[in-house]
Symmetry: C2
Subunit: 297 residues, 2 copies
């Protein structure tokens, strides 16, 4: 089946594509050919291998967001500086593609003080605002690198990135804690850990090794350790972002377990939290970005 | 040359051995056959491969400390519970060894609340106290897992373990920061980072990704990033251990760069810091442990 256009979310670890008719998804595909696995020069091949069946004789627009716009990516899409609309600049055309596609990459955002960058989330933010144009407040976009984003009058005013997701994976999978952190979950252990490092962020450093010791000495359950590790890290992040969420209009963008975990931690602090589906806002943002390319075509 | 006895420090990543005559080192050897690389049943072979030349017809005492006494180690040397002298119990004889050696492993220490364990540092503490029998105060033993130890009247009263060294290695080598953290060092950047997370430990979570962003946006030097990463982590550890070091008699045990870094961070806070050489106190502690085996032989 031929697509009218193709939406692409191309991050560090995954490549996801959707065959679109207007704003309707008619097919989808994904692979593990994220940025970190694709060599310079290999991007078009990686994409075509999953979208080939959606192409025809006339060129199809491909609109991509994410790390694919980095310097080492398919084409560099220079950052726009905040304060800025989330997608202020026209997506950058990839030169010299297969004639069956016209490919564009959405630029990311940068902030000078403190230094910070995003690629991909700007598209989700644009999609979120498309559905709620007058929404002012703070977005939390959890992931490998969680973003906290202050929105006002349709612009990204400031943002901060936290490596909480990556730290969790490194500690769970590569550190001495890998022997003690198991599968499963324990809500009470998570809540206690969040509350502890949120009120005393220094306890993050102080409690991590205790997850190993509690296993060695008391045979503590691996599910409890997993929830505690997550809670200690997220509590420390919430301590650092207090000004972002305390008393603010707040939405968490995400579909998977990690978004629910963040919402739970925030609700535990009395915050009122909206949620929005990550895929939905990504597709809405890519549709907006596509319109930008057509206005200037 | 034959050794009178053999001192062994057998940790997770390294195996170090010294040929001893009384308390004098006459030869030394090491290999990368730490605990994590030796399979159950492979310990004697790993050791003999580096100490073989020191053995003779009559059995030589081998006194080992470290992770080699863990359940997955050469022989399990059960933890003694604090409060306790650092080496309170007789080292555990390894059964069924090669007849040219009589091998013993020094027991570690455990603490119930909060749960914590050590293996190896108890021997260093015993060696430190052997030279300064009436020393009361707090020891800091930096490493992959840094230990803070409160000593009083010759006993370990309490201790806490921090994964600061392991976190540094994971973030430097495996996370997105690996692209931005280089070699070299910058004292001013280290001091600023220590002061920041010591006063505001929540800034650890808030500043890590900034090391990457400052490189992307401003081309920040990799040596500065390295010193900042170390400083942010150590500052957060010092925030968590304030009760251990503030106004206390204080000594840092270590020979290498990391001990100097800790001493610098503590002196910056106005603490008076003694230092002791790690190898020296390890050998003194192993000599004490050997005496325990002979008193009961």
């Amino acid at each position: 089946m031929k697509a009218e256009w193709i939406a692409v979310d191309w991050g560090t670890s995954h490549l996801r594509a959707w065959a679109m008719q207007g704003d309707r998804v008619v097919d989808r595909a994904q692979s593990d050919q994220g940025m970190s696995r694709v060599a310079k020069g290999g991007f078009q091949t990686a994409l075509l291998s999953i979208v080939d069946r959606w192409l025809g004789d006339s060129p199809v627009d491909v609109i991509a967001c994410g790390m694919v716009g980095a310097r080492q990516g398919w084409v560099e899409a220079p950052y726009a500086a905040v304060p800025s609309e989330p997608v202020a600049n026209v997506p950058v055309r990839v030169p010299g593609t297969d004639p069956r596609i016209r490919a564009f990459v959405v630029p990311g955002l940068k902030q000078t003080t403190p230094p910070d960058v995003m690629r991909g989330e700007e598209t989700q933010i644009a999609g979120f605002l498309a559905a709620q144009p007058n929404w002012d407040g703070v977005l939390c976009l959890p992931g490998t690198h969680t973003k906290w984003v202050q929105l006002s009058a349709g612009e990204v005013v400031s943002f901060r990135t936290f490596m909480t997701g990556e730290m969790f994976e490194l500690l769970r999978g590569q550190s001495v804690l890998r022997h003690s952190v198991g599968q499963g979950w324990d809500d009470a252990a998570f809540s206690e850990a969040v509350a502890d490092t949120l009120s005393k962020p220094e306890n993050l450093a102080g409690r991590l090794f205790g997850l190993r010791a509690a296993d060695l000495l008391q045979g503590q359950d691996g599910a409890v350790a997993r929830a505690q590790l997550s809670g200690l890290l997220i509590g420390a992040e919430l301590a650092a972002t207090r000004a972002y969420w305390l008393g603010q209009q707040l939405a968490v963008i995400g579909a998977d377990q990690v978004a629910n975990i963040y919402a739970q931690a925030l609700q535990q602090q009395g915050a009122f939290v909206e949620t929005a589906d990550a895929t939905e806002v990504t597709l809405a943002g890519l549709a907006l970005a596509r319109n930008l390319t057509r206005q200037t075509a």
